[in-house]
């Protein structure tokens, strides 16, 4: 492994000062399940300083207010998956946490690392986007809160600057009338074309009509986004298989209009359509 200096600051102030000191040459270390793999690649220029944030207790834990869930970035996928608040108020995120990697990866990997690494296949991102989450960032220059929908530029690139620390992730609890689902196909290291996922939230009125719907595919677009065009055809309608099939088609058309037809389209086009249909059918 490359050489670097190792720091494990004890509080946020110290951390921000170190990040400032090393500017673009510092790398934050959380669970390390992405960072250690990077550090071992011979092609990647190593950082001068590794800043391990695991001593920062203020970056741990899940809390809830009357209307919101607040997740601190060092929460592991195991903790996320076993939280009763998440299960009750953000079921799709609960499901996503359970299908990440392996038990060993879930025991170390954190939600903060998942977001900040910004891989196209990051499984917590589509649910968080469907949940209308915001992220809070901190640096010596101060704090800012950004809707997650505006946070990503492209795979592996976010609007965060190198010395910003992710402090928390926050989103409104789903109402009892909002049902949700996360479905994923394929493993991270499987051939890239086989990786696709869908996060969906569906809200029905007492009379059974669809009042609101949010659909966010994962690993399908160059940048994560809500499927607003496809969502529109559902609102005010009675849920039906035909309608969900149609929605799936719209999503796959939207995907193709973005990425163009390429060698993987033949596979992705029907698969994303089916995933969308199934996610909508199984929202609960």
């Amino acid at each position: 492994m490359k050489q670097f200096e190792y720091f494990s600051p004890k509080n946020v102030v110290e951390t921000c000062a170190l990040l400032k000191e090393f500017e673009n040459d510092a790398q934050i270390l959380a669970g390390g399940t992405d960072v250690l793999i990077e550090l071992r690649k011979s092609s990647v220029k190593p950082p001068r300083a590794i800043i391990d944030i695991n001593r920062l207790n203020e970056l741990k834990g899940i809390t809830e207010t009357e209307s919101e869930i607040i997740i601190k970035p060092l929460t592991t996928h195991t903790e996320l998956g076993s939280s009763s608040s998440i299960k009750k108020h953000a079921r799709l995120l609960h499901i996503a946490a359970h299908v990440i990697g392996s038990p060993q990866i879930r025991n170390r990997g954190t939600i903060g690392g998942n977001i900040m690494n910004a891989a196209a296949c990051a499984d917590t991102v589509p649910p968080l986007m469907a949940l209308d989450a915001t992220v809070k960032l901190l640096s010596v220059n101060g704090e800012r809160i950004v809707p997650i929908i505006d946070f990503f530029i492209k795979p592996y690139q976010t609007i965060a600057i190198k010395n910003e620390l992710l402090m928390e992730i926050r989103f409104p609890k789903l109402l009892d009338s909002m049902k949700s689902m996360f479905l994923k196909l394929g493993r991270r290291n499987a051939l890239a074309i086989s990786r696709l996922s869908v996060a969906a939230i569906l809200r029905k009125s007492d009379s059974g009509l669809i009042q609101e719907v949010r659909i966010v595919p994962g690993a399908a677009f160059p940048k994560w986004q809500r499927m607003t065009e496809a969502e529109k055809i559902l609102v005010g309608q009675k849920p039906s298989k035909e309608l969900f099939i149609e929605t799936g088609k719209r999503v796959s058309e939207a995907m193709i209009s973005f990425t163009g037809r390429r060698w993987s389209t033949e596979y992705k086009e029907p698969v994303i359509a089916v995933l969308v249909r199934r996610a909508l059918e199984t929202c609960q």
Partner: protein, 158 residues
């Protein structure tokens, strides 16, 4: 490169170590502490051969930076047997023909131990989930699942 001093417990033994920071927990165990029971396979978190318990939870030691175990408790496969007496889970692996080439076995045992420490009577599905991060090229997994399911030990020692 500046060395880092860490205080840690490995198999219930306390260590104060001065280490280079660019070391994984896996290399620390194998190369510095001579604990070669933990195996080095892919070194990218895929195979599970390097699985150890960190604060009671299964982790890939190839993905933990050695300085990160400061103040933490590590348990490796060496902790299972007492002298020449195998741990009942190890006996069960032998009795069920779950050890072929044996390369995956230490990691499998540690993932199984994490499971059984928290759930003494797991279902087959729970067992398969618990070892889903451990690859075995030889056995086809069924013998391993049987060995874990029919280990007649609870709670586990260690």
């Amino acid at each position: 490169m500046k060395k880092v001093t860490i205080h840690t417990s490995v198999n219930h033994k306390h260590y104060e170590l001065e280490i280079k920071p660019n070391l994984t927990l896996l290399s620390l165990l194998r190369e510095e502490l001579g604990l070669t029971g933990t195996k080095c396979g892919c070194e990218v978190g895929e195979c599970g051969a390097c699985t150890v318990l960190m604060n009671g939870k299964a982790v890939n030691s190839c993905l933990v930076l050695a300085p990160q175990i400061d103040g933490q408790e590590i348990v490796t496969v060496e902790e299972l047997a007492i002298g020449n007496k195998l741990h009942p889970l190890q006996e069960s692996f032998l009795n069920h023909d779950a050890v072929h080439c044996g390369f995956c076995t230490p990691g499998m045992l540690m993932s199984a131990k994490d499971l059984l420490d928290h759930n003494s009577n797991p279902t087959e599905e729970e067992i398969r989930t618990a070892i889903s991060g451990n690859l075995c090229r030889c056995s086809g997994y069924q013998q391993i699942v049987d060995a874990i399911q029919n280990n007649n030990v609870s709670p586990l020692k260690g």
